[in-house]
Amino acid sequence: MWNEESDWIGSFDALLARLAECSMCSRRSGERPGAAQMDVKILDVAAEGGYGRVFRCLDVHTGALVAMKQITMVRLSQGIPAQIIREVSLLRELHHANIVKLLRVGFTENRYVNLVFEHLDYDLHQFIVNRGYPKDATTVKSFMFQILSAVAYCHSRKVLHRDLKPSNVLINHSKRLIKLADFGLAREFADDFLYTEKLGTSWYRAPEILCHSRQYSTQVDLWSVGCIFAEMVIGQPLFQVINCRDELEGIFKLLGTPTEETWPGITKLMPNLHIYCSKFDPLGLETFVTDLEPSGLNLLSMMLCLDPSKRISAEASLKHAYFTDVNWI
């Protein structure tokens, strides 16, 4: 690709030749030890996906249960995938009670990257589908508070998760403790930054991303949290419930088709909005999310706000009246 001749492209020896020989120094210091070794014994496959597999394992030294996420390096010629570099380096910095702990990173046969995590019993998706969704308001409230605590912490560390969904929310059954997982799409954010628009699972994807905006911030995570909130209450994905051709139409059916008044900048973001879909009057959240106390519905409406600039933040959500009587189960 870069084959044009230039005075600076070339081997390092050629670069060095540009300067006189430099004097050498001969002192040597010891190397810093790497991360502690961890041997694991695979028990069974816990999950499988496009990225690879998750194994339930035993740490042979401590006897503790751990989860090993084995990611297949698809494009071997390109080395370690960017998403693994981001996930690992971000998790090395994020230390919070509601964020999954990364214990070790290793490689197998130059083809797999193994991420060893603390073990949790199941994810929120399994909890909703298999165990009957958390019908009691206390559990929903506790889970929501913990999810928001983790998200607020990430945002205060300048990290966007970008893939929040029930299957990425893990649960410790005995402690009823929630932990955010799968930071594969996470990244540090900046206010003048362009990001990729092809991310997140579509049912939980914020409208600004569905409208192909490449400039977004912490609000995308809050939209996803709102979708999770609704799903915990109604037992299935909110935008799966609404009969429509795609997610964006579903959002507009539920919340009303935006206008320049309700969402300043939408016409610039989506000039063909009027062609794309007819003008819907909002059906209203209360139509679908029926078993939620008024303060909860108020919080949900603030999370599922079309205009990202008016969407509530994680920090502010934690101070919402809905959580005045939150209990740690």
């Binding site: 084959n3 492209i9 120094c25 190397e31 790497g34 570099i85 205060s156 206010d191 933040s313 502010a316």
Partner: protein, 439 residues
């Protein structure tokens, strides 16, 4: 330029209008200060603190102690927090936001950020009450802050120079959802706390085959590669951070130094960019000095050695913030700051002697000196950087000297890059002759 002492005695000029702020005086309404304690006594009287005194560490501690004592006394008056300023519940604000008068040429009026005035003694109680009421009527959700924020707002008010204002550089971002304004203080507090992790000690002693000059050659070349690939600025800063941290833990033979450089840039690109250059691009750009397998092997080695710690504050994180604090900022100023910072990064002693935030602050200070922005160091900059002019002088002097030496240097990547009109050709401007003389 007047000495700092004299400078403090001058009334602050906001928008071309002289206003006295927080001057001690009898018969003045002092209610605005009740919540942080009556910090400012009558000038020249033994019972008060003379605000003309330079804010040394001891003096700052004294101010803070007095503030805390006074706060204990005034516990009765509860407070609310609005946009980071402490506002007494009767509507009288300590540090209410007062928009500055817009200044600038008639053609292009530049909007100045809002200004935090530590005390507005000359405003009537009625005006203050209305202002406080309006502030409280803003969405409670957006402005809700923890008790620690109240305390930090108090200490900020206590530590600042009472007669000088500090601009709220985030005021204009409150409605910008991309700026994450409510997290910005937490973010930079965290960066300041963790920047040590990204710093390196003097490692050349443990490198038998390479030295500081070779490092400079490598950095010079990497800056060219970075420019050729049209990568984002944060990628360059992370690349150099990875190179230095790796060299500080692993002895590298001279023939592999360029390999370390391209592998570091590959890692940084994967971390920062949406579309990172491919391994082959790096192989080609190094004139096939290495094969792709070597690059991939080195990538793994670097990540293992650094234990995958890549989320580290680099000077770039601070440069963005501090340039914003150097208001009113413009493209020329911004480019000069980045030019000086990159010169600093090429210079091994600068990288090992100074932490990232200090390098960034020094670049801003040196840039202001170079462009003749008066005053060279403002209260706003001191507030947001946490550094005084004295703390920056040595590093800024190095940068000014590097600027002066740049045209004649054999390593011309930074000079060439910033001689470009796209970057305001700041490299071609005269360097700040002697920073010490400019004080």
């Amino acid at each position: 330029m007047a000495s700092r002492l004299e400078q403090q005695q001058q009334p602050t000029n906001v928008g071309g209008e002289n206003k006295q702020k927080n001057m001690g005086g009898e018969g003045r309404n002092r209610r605005v200060l009740q919540d942080i304690g009556n910090l400012v006594g009558k000038q020249g009287h033994g019972n008060g603190i003379n605000v003309s005194k330079p804010v040394t560490r001891n003096f700052r501690a004294q101010l803070l102690a007095n503030a805390q004592a006074a706060t204990e006394k005034n516990k009765k008056s509860s407070t609310e927090v609005n946009n980071g300023a402490v506002v007494a519940t009767d509507g009288v604000g300590v540090g209410n936001f007062v928009p500055a008068r817009k200044v600038g040429a008639a053609k292009k009026p530049k909007e100045e950020p809002e200004v935090i005035v530590i005390s507005s003694d000359d405003e009537s109680d009625e005006k203050q009450a209305v202002k406080g009421k309006k502030a409280r009527e803003k969405s409670a959700m957006k402005n809700a802050k923890a008790f620690s924020s109240v305390l930090s707002a108090r200490s900020k008010a206590a530590c600042g120079l009472p007669r000088d204002f500090v601009m709220n550089i985030d005021a204009t971002d409150m409605d910008n959802e991309l700026a994450a304004a409510e997290y910005i203080d937490d973010i930079y507090k965290f960066y300041k706390e963790t920047e040590e992790d990204g710093c390196v000690h003097d490692y050349m002693g443990s490198q038998p085959d390479i030295n500081a000059k070779m490092r400079s050659i490598l950095v010079d070349w990497l800056i060219e590669v970075h420019r050729k690939f049209e990568l984002m600025p944060e990628t360059l800063y992370l690349t150099l951070n990875i190179v230095d941290r790796f060299l500080s833990v692993k002895a590298v033979p001279r023939r592999e130094l360029q390999l370390v450089g391209i592998s570091s840039m590959l890692i940084a690109s994967k971390y920062e960019e949406i579309w990172a250059p491919e391994v082959n691009d790096f192989v080609c750009i190094s004139d096939n000095a290495y094969v792709s397998e070597q690059v991939l092997m080195m990538e793994k080695t670097i990540l293992r050695k650094l234990e995958w710690y890549l989320t580290v504050p680099t000077p770039y994180h601070f440069l963005v913030r501090y340039t914003k604090a150097s208001t009113p900022s413009d493209k020329e100023m911004e480019n000069m700051v980045f030019f000086l910072a990159e010169l600093g990064l090429m210079h091994y002693p600068t990288v090992i002697l100074y932490r990232p935030s200090l390098i960034a602050a020094s670049a801003v200070f040196a840039a202001r000196c170079t462009l003749g922005r008066s005053p060279f160091w403002t209260n706003t900059l001191m507030h947001y950087t946490g550094y005084s002019e004295e703390q920056l002088r040595d590093c800024a002097k190095i940068m000014a000297n590097l600027h002066a030496a740049a045209p004649g240097s054999k390593l011309r990547a930074v000079y060439k890059k910033f001689s470009n009109s796209d970057l305001s050709a700041v490299a071609l401007l005269s360097p700040a002759k002697d920073l010490s003389a400019l004080s």
